[in-house]
Symmetry: C2
Subunit: 141 residues, 2 copies
């Protein structure tokens, strides 16, 4: 099987964790001036992109566990960024919506995130950004 004992830094899991940590640190620093965390940004982008998302759908798109999302949304509601609306087709479901303020803030934050993502892409050769996305998607179940 494996020809030699490779150092553990060459494990895919390690490389992904290292990249994630690095990217998250840049991102957190960038979002700090907006007083918001990465997860909240993802929630806002998801809400802007998809329409009438339920908590469950949102949790999976925004990469957040349901209980954690529930609490994050509590905070975002009290910050006036989003509001909950009970679905009329199924009373158990919640449709989450961006408030006007939420949308404004999101557009503002997006500029910085785009810039940051551009810088990240700048670290790669031209087509490598797309290639990286493709490879990452393959290991993402």
């Amino acid at each position: 099987m494996s020809e030699q004992t490779s150092s553990f830094e060459t494990h895919i899991s390690y490389a992904v964790a290292a990249a994630h940590r690095s990217v998250n640190q840049r991102m957190t620093a960038q979002l700090k001036k907006h007083g918001i965390q990465i997860e909240a940004w993802r929630v806002m982008e998801c809400l802007d992109a998809g329409e009438r998302l339920t908590m469950g759908a949102l949790a999976s798109k925004a990469l957040i566990n349901p209980p954690t999302l529930s609490k994050l949304v509590d905070r975002m509601v009290s910050d006036g960024l989003v509001h909950r609306q009970i679905s009329q087709s199924d009373q158990r479901e919640i449709n989450l919506l961006l408030t006007h303020l939420g949308r404004i803030r999101m557009l503002d934050i997006r500029k910085d995130v785009e810039e940051q993502d551009g810088a990240l892409n700048g670290l790669l050769e031209t087509e490598d950004g797309a290639l990286l996305l493709k490879l990452l998607s393959k290991i993402t179940v």
Copy 2:
């Protein structure tokens, strides 16, 4: 600049977060039967690989913030996996060492991790594993 508004899922930061979440979930499930968390495994591998690591060096290699590492090490010490040794060259530094039990446990866990990493590599074409590592290292500061 950007020709069109791309969906936020194509951001490198999102793809990395998604991959990380997915890999971590597999890994956590795998390590559950050993009653250990991913970070503790990384600590053990770091200690096995490098010699006489200080807390600071370890924190950076194992991708853990110093205060978090300090507490994790407390737990690992009381589980008998590692022990602290004050460096004689600098009394402020701690050299962390695997205990005998720690080494045994590590070797045992390593088998499962290798297997899991193999499965991950199996999701990619032959040379893509190495390619992914290379691309990830470029965005890791």
